[in-house]
Every structure is written in structure tokens, then in C-alpha cells.
């Protein structure tokens, strides 16, 4: 009786785990399978190195280059904006506020990560885009800059949380010793804490980049979505936006349809490369400390 | 003789932690295992009730419980007969009472009167009853370290084991609590066989009937407590004992 119950439990758990595993693999294989016709049909010269995206024209052209550049442009710019602010904020929360208030502020910053991205898109449209139109004298504020600024806010929690954790750890280890030498708090932060956290800052940056590349709704709502080469103050369309906007119109099993899967695959590969880099840096760091 | 090992070796991956251990444990006695940290004492203890497997260890050689190879005993039955207590007290995050009834309920006891009797009986044996009788529904994690450890031992007794393994049960406790547990162990050995790993030589001397000295995964020497402490045969044992005394 008891053995029976044990066996039933083990079976249920195994079935659940196998089901999850199958779902995960199914997604991977399906994406791979559906994108193969595209890669077979269209040469890499066209999809990576030409410049035009017009899948529905009578003379169709399939180039992901504008979208890939837009994705990278928006994401890197967002990281460049978010990182200095987040690192500074991390230092501020680790050294200049009381434990209690920094914990409250941190948990609110953390909650930003939980806000649905469509809300960011909405705010970006009514605040940021309008602001850019008014102040930069733009015809339309929907642009790479708007996307990057908005995205940088969404990345705050990812970088701030990770960095603050490292700063706190460094504080525990070195702060007392450094203070006993009579140097200022700021000097300690600059000369000891920051160098100690260099690697961790970099890893957090990269992980945030992975998150940035896949962001769909918020970016889509403020970048204007034209499949052209991105300029800072011009419209652009990222890969996720491309997929989201065209998946409803592509005919099932057409080349256009397959191209969207190919775009998805390229996106996944970008994210995976980033994750692997972060993983390797992390591992190298572990070895050095251990 | 209740437990006997025969060329017992334990591996973690390719690392050989225990090498050809041959020892015996007498029924209703306290046997202390001593030796420097990392000599395999804890590993040895864990291999006796096969919990070593949960940590990924592989064993070679044989262990006999009452002349029966433990690999022929169903693993739950084996662990039921050989109980184990860890260094840090591991109370379950329930009330004191639920800690005590956790195992009996599994073994099919549903009668609340009987459950209560069992719980109280072993709390009394562990000398905890007087201290907690008013609030058995209190979270066990709120007890002091010494009380928690006694609760863990009491919980271990609820399944009626033949052998109790203790892994440095007092190293996290103060002198008074240590004394409490030691006198309890001396009381318990009338009914149970006790094997205790300890760093504290004085403790081994106070409570143990037999002592095993281990070094580097091998048993250097085993014998009656007085013999080991007063006239050890092996120079390594002697060195360790003199070293620990100073």
C-alpha cells in the first residue's frame, strides 16, 4: 500500500517532468523545422547582407539586416544609458542610505521587472515620445532614441539588483579595513569597491542585454516600426516587433511565414550567444575566487 | 555484536574516502569514533544506514546488521532500524508535537491517544518533557539549540531503532546541554546501540565503552576506551591523543 503510493507519486512527478521536457523540446524543434524552408530558399547573402525587406511585394526581398541592426542599436544604446545610472544607484543604495530605506527602494526597483511591458509602451508613448517631439523638434518622436530610453528604464532592476548585491558583499569584506586607514567613504568606493565588482557589473550588463534584445511590446510601441536602417532619431523596427506585427498576416507555410521563424531563430541565437558569454565570464570569475 | 563491516570502502566519484574498513560494534554499548577532521568519520556513519547514497557516494564491501547483509534489507527498513542524528539539530519546521508524530503517522498509527502516548514517552526519555509539556504546539524551531537536539533524538526514538548514529551531536551546544545529552545517552544504551562521532576526547572518555580511531579513511585502532586512551598500540593514535590533550 505504502509502496504503491510511493510509486504513484514517482510516476506523477516523472510524467510532469517529461511533459515539461517535451514542451521545451517541441518549441525548439518546431522553430527549427519551420525556419528551414526559408534558409533553404534564401541565401545568407540576401538575408544577412542585402538591405530591403518587402516580403509581400511581387518582387519580394528578405533582408533581416535592418531589423538586426535596429535590435542591436536599441539594445546597446539602452544598456549604455542604463549601466552608469544603475551602477551609480547601486553604490548609492549600498553606501549612502540606511539599510531599511535601501531595502524598500530596492524592492520597488525590483517590482519594475514585474510591470507588464505594455504599460511601459503606453507610458513611453504618452510621455517620452511626446517629450522628444516637443524638445528635439522631431516630426514624430517614435524613434530609436525613444526605444532605447524606455528600454533602459526597464533594465534598471536587472542591473541595479545584481550590482547592489556585489557592492554589499564587497562592503562586508573591505569597508572596515579601508575605513581604518582613514580614507574617505568615496575613496573606498572608487578604489576598492568598484574594481572588486567590475566583473559582476559586466555580467549583469550582458544578462540585461539578453533581456533587452527580446523585449517586444514596449519597444514596438515607441520605435515607429519601419523596416529601414536605424538612425538615432529615426524610426526603426526590431526583430521582435517584426514577428509580432507580421505573424497575423503571413500565409501559413509560405516563405514569408518561414521567414518569421527564421527571424525568431536568429533572435534566439543572439540571446543564446549572450547567455553563453555571461556564463563563461561568470565561471571564470568563480574559478579565480575559489 | 550487532554491526560488522567487511572491507568497507566508499568513493565519491574517483575519490576514495574510506579504505577497507573492518570494524565491529557491540550491542547495547556506546562506541565513539574519533580522529582528525576529514578522516572519513562522518562518511563512515552515513554508509551504515546507506544515506551516503543520497550524497552520491558509492560503497564497496559489506556491512552486516545482526549477521544480515544490509544490502538485502529494504532500504527503508534498514533506516528504520538504524536512526541518525546530525551535528546541527535538524528539527522539522512544525510544532514539537508534529515532529514527534511525523514518523509514527507514516507507519500507520492513526489513534490520537496512542500517538500522544508515544510522543510523550520519548519526550520524557529525552528529558525534554518537563521543559515543554505546556506548549507542545509551539514551533520546534523556537526551542534552544540543546532542546532542539534532544527533540531530534526523541524523534529518532519514535521509530524504535536498534542502533542510533550520532554525528558530533554536541559540537554546537554549551556545557550544560552537552552534559544533558551525555547522561541521556548513558541511559539510552540499555535499550539501544549507540555509535557517536566526536571531536571531544573527554566526551569519548566519559561515555564510550569502545573507541575507534580513524585517520585518512582507514581505521588505525579500535579497542576498549581505557585501553585506547591509556596505552594505545599505534603511534599515530598516541600522537593524536597527546596532541588533542594539549
Amino acid at each position: 500500500m505504502k509502496d504503491l503510493k510511493e510509486n504513484i507519486f514517482r510516476t506523477i512527478i516523472t510524467i510532469g517532468a517529461v511533459l515539461s521536457g517535451i514542451l521545451v523540446l517541441l518549441v525548439f524543434f518546431y522553430i527549427l523545422k519551420e525556419s528551414i524552408p526559408f534558409f533553404r530558399e534564401v541565401s545568407y547573402k540576401e538575408y544577412l547582407f542585402s538591405s530591403s525587406w518587402r516580403p509581400l511585394s511581387t518582387n519580394p526581398a528578405y533582408s533581416f539586416l535592418p531589423m538586426i541592426s535596429a535590435t542591436l542599436y536599441v539594445s546597446f544604446l539602452a544598456i549604455l544609458i542604463a549601466t552608469p545610472l544603475s551602477v551609480g544607484c547601486g553604490l548609492f543604495l549600498s553606501f549612502n542610505t540606511s539599510k531599511k530605506s535601501s531595502r524598500i527602494i530596492l524592492s520597488f526597483i525590483d517590482m519594475i521587472a514585474g510591470i507588464p511591458s505594455v504599460i511601459f509602451g503606453f507610458l513611453g508613448l504618452v510621455l517620452l515620445v511626446k517629450f522628444l517631439e516637443r524638445n528635439l523638434d522631431m516630426v514624430s518622436g517614435e524613434s530609436v532614441l525613444a526605444g532605447a530610453l524606455l528600454l533602459s528604464v526597464m533594465l534598471f532592476p536587472y542591473i541595479v539588483t545584481g550590482c547592489t548585491e556585489t557592492f554589499m558583499k564587497a562592503k562586508d569584506i573591505y569597508y572596515g579595513a579601508s575605513q581604518s586607514l582613514g580614507v574617505s567613504k568615496w575613496y573606498t568606493m572608487r578604489r576598492i569597491i568598484l574594481p572588486f565588482a567590475r566583473k559582476s557589473i559586466f555580467v549583469n550588463m550582458i544578462l540585461a542585454l539578453g533581456r533587452a534584445i527580446g523585449e517586444t511590446m514596449a519597444v514596438m510601441m515607441v520605435t515607429g516600426n519601419s523596416p529601414i536602417f536605424p538612425k538615432l532619431l529615426g524610426r526603426a523596427e526590431t526583430i521582435p516587433s517584426l514577428i509580432a506585427l507580421e505573424m497575423g498576416t503571413a500565409t501559413y507555410k509560405s516563405l514569408h511565414y518561414s521567414s518569421l521563424y527564421a527571424a525568431g531563430l536568429i533572435l534566439i541565437i543572439l540571446v543564446l550567444i549572450i547567455q553563453v558569454i555571461a556564463y563563461m565570464i561568470n565561471k571564470a570569475g568563480m574559478r579565480r575566487i575559489g | 555484536m550487532i554491526i560488522r563491516t567487511e572491507d568497507l570502502s566508499v568513493y565519491y566519484g574517483y575519490k576514495n574516502i574510506l579504505k577497507d574498513v573492518n570494524v565491529t560494534f557491540e550491542k547495547n554499548k556506546i562506541t565513539a569514533i574519533i580522529g582528525p577532521s576529514g578522516c572519513g568519520k562522518t562518511t563512515f556513519l552515513k554508509s551504515l544506514n546507506r544515506t551516503i547514497e543520497e550524497y552520491g557516494g558509492k560503497t564497496e564491501g559489506n556491512i552486516y546488521l545482526n549477521n544480515e547483509d544490509i544490502m538485502n534489507i529494504p532500504v527503508q527498513k534498514l533506516r528504520n532500524r538504524i536512526g541518525m542524528v546530525f551535528q546541527t539539530p535538524v528539527v522539522f519546521p512544525f510544532s514539537i508535537y508534529k515532529n514527534m508524530t511525523y514518523a509514527p503517522i507514516y507507519y500507520g498509527e492513526r489513534n490520537s491517544q496512542k500517538l500522544k502516548e508515544t510522543a510523550l514517552k520519548y519526550l520524557k526519555i529525552a528529558g525534554l518533557y518537563e521543559e515543554v509539556k505546556g506548549d507542545l504546539d509551539m514551533q520546534a524551531t523556537k526551542l534552544s539549540g540543546g532542546q532542539q537536539q534532544r527533540l531530534v533524538i526523541a524523534r529518532c526514538l519514535t521509530v524504535n531503532p536498534e542502533v542510533i548514529l550520532l554525528d558530533e551531536p554536541c559540537s554546537a551546544l554549551d556545557i550544560k546541554n552537552t552534559a544533558n545529552i551525555e547522561s541521556m545517552l548513558l541511559e539510552l544504551k540499555k535499550d539501544y546501540t549507540i555509535i557517536i562521532v566526536t571531536h571531544n576526547l573527554a566526551q569519548a572518555k566519559r561515555i564510550a565503552d569502545y573507541v575507534i580511531y580513524m585517520e585518512d579513511g582507514t581505521v588505525v585502532e579500535m579497542g576498549k576506551t581505557d585501553d585506547i586512551f591509556d596505552c594505545p598500540l599505534d603511534s599515530r593514535t598516541k600522537e593524536y591523543i597527546t596532541y588533542m590533550k594539549n
Binding site: A17, V24, I31, G88, I115, P116, G214, P240, I243 | F86
Partner: protein
């Protein structure tokens, strides 16, 4: 030297203030702008006006979001918990364990829009399940399985190994130990993972856009009905330029639900530490 330190100080304090102000500003702005719009009628009414959505309420969208969140939360929770338990306690083969973990990690990195694409073509077009609560919830489930499994696995690891071994040492088998000891000990963390996963599902737009959500519908009565959802409703209001005011109201409701679950999870998580 002095100038450098001054610059440094300026940078740290300024970025601290900027991020803090933006963070609190965000929440307060939405709450401030939305609170005027949110009347009882807004909560319990259906979209009205011409075009639809410019007046009336968002009740079907609230229900749609809650239902799809609930279904995918339950499905993802069960599968995620099974996966976590399997990985921690039943998987004997170290290599298989590593593969499953890596696959989950990878899937967690896949952008939600790609999962949406998968759901749309596989479930809706391929298998022919209509655009419905069911297909949308399954798509969301696929999205949150890695999120939940990884967090639940961590939750189970929070309970000490010695506790698990202590129970085994009483002669009690794995399954009973997991059900009666490990899961109750880690219950709060498990619920937190579940809550966060559900919020994640409820806030997602891209995965449901083509798998089940529609611009206007009633409260779905069956699994095969299409439904409205708050994030998509917000997207439509904004993107079609229907009504900014209604958009603030919708954002308010969405953020209140998200914050409520988040804070609830946050505090139950805290209690465990004390």
C-alpha cells in the same frame, strides 16, 4: 584628485536620485492618472461607445486576464513543481539533469514573442484549436514553465539537505518526505514562484495576441471562447488612439493586480526569513 572625487560623488548621488525618482514616479504617475478613471462602473462594465472601448468598462478584460493567468498558473505550477522535484530528488543521471536544466535556461531566454509565434502556428493554425482561452493559456504555460521550474527548484533547495536525510533516516521514503516535509517547509517560496509566474503570464501581450485574445468579447464561458485581456486591451486603446483616458484606467487596474500579487509574494517571502 579633489575634482575627481567630486565628480564621482556627483555621479553616485545623481544616479541614485534619478533611478529612485523614476521608480516611484512610475508607480505614482499611473496610480494618480488612473484613479480618477476607475469607477465601480469601469470595473464591472463592458466596453461601450463608438468606437468600442472609448466608454464603459473593462470587466471582460479583467476576467479574461484573471482566467488566463489562473489556468496557465495552475498548469505551469503543476508542471514546474514536478520538474523541480524530479530534478532535485528523482533524476539519478547527472548528465540528463544538466541537459534538462540547460534546456530550461535556454527556453527562459527565448523572447515571449517567439513563443507567441509558436503557439499561433502550432496550436491555432496547425492543430486547429480555435483562437481561444485554451490556446492562449497553453502558450502562456509554455512561456512560464522555465520561469517557474527554475524558481521552484531554488525554493526546494532552500530546505536543507540534512532535513531531507533526517526524514529518510527515520525509514520514511522519498515521496512521503517530499509531500509531508519538503513541500510544507518550502511552501511559501513555492507559492511566491507561482505568484510571480502568474503575474508574468497575466502581463504578457505578445504570446496571446494571435492565440486567443480579441478586441471585444464577453467574459469567456468555455475554454474554447476567445477572450479580452487587460494588456492587449491597453495596447489596442493606445495603438488605435481610441482613448488615453481609458488607457490610464486600464493600466491602473493592471498595475494594481500586478502590485498586489507582487507585494503579497514579497511579504510572505520575508516572513520566512525571520
Amino acid at each position: 584628485m579633489r575634482a575627481k572625487e567630486l565628480m564621482f560623488k556627483f555621479w553616485v548621488i545623481l544616479s541614485g536620485i534619478i533611478i529612485t525618482v523614476i521608480t516611484f514616479g512610475l508607480f505614482l504617475y499611473i496610480l494618480y492618472k488612473g484613479i480618477g478613471v476607475v469607477t465601480p462602473e469601469f470595473i464591472i462594465g463592458s466596453p461601450k461607445g463608438i468606437p468600442l472601448g472609448t466608454q464603459g468598462g473593462v470587466f471582460p478584460a479583467i476576467m479574461g486576464s484573471i482566467l488566463s493567468g489562473l489556468i496557465s498558473g495552475i498548469l505551469g505550477g503543476v508542471l514546474g513543481l514536478c520538474t523541480a522535484i524530479y530534478l532535485n530528488y528523482y533524476c539519478k543521471n547527472e548528465i540528463i539533469r544538466k541537459y534538462i536544466l540547460n534546456a530550461l535556461q535556454c527556453l527562459a531566454g527565448i523572447p515571449s514573442v517567439v513563443i507567441g509565434l509558436f503557439g499561433y502556428t502550432f496550436l491555432v493554425v496547425g492543430l486547429g484549436i480555435s483562437k481561444s482561452l485554451l490556446s492562449a493559456s497553453i502558450t502562456l504555460t509554455v512561456m512560464i514553465i522555465p520561469f517557474i521550474s527554475i524558481r521552484m527548484k531554488k525554493a526546494l533547495e532552500e530546505t536543507s539537505k540534512e532535513q531531507y536525510i533526517s526524514s529518510l533516516s527515520l525509514g520514511i521514503p522519498k515521496g512521503y518526505t517530499i509531500v509531508k516535509l519538503i513541500i510544507p517547509s518550502a511552501f511559501k517560496y513555492i507559492m511566491t514562484s507561482l505568484g510571480l509566474g502568474t503575474v508574468f503570464a497575466m502581463g504578457a501581450t505578445a504570446p496571446i495576441m494571435y492565440t486567443g485574445v480579441v478586441i471585444v468579447s464577453g467574459v469567456p464561458g468555455k475554454l474554447t471562447d476567445p477572450f479580452m485581456a487587460l494588456p492587449y486591451h491597453l495596447y489596442i486603446l493606445v495603438n488605435e488612439g481610441l482613448s488615453v483616458e481609458m488607457a490610464y484606467g486600464t493600466a491602473f487596474v493592471l498595475i494594481v493586480i500586478v502590485l498586489f500579487i507582487n507585494i503579497a509574494c514579497h511579504f510572505t517571502g520575508k516572513n520566512e526569513d525571520v
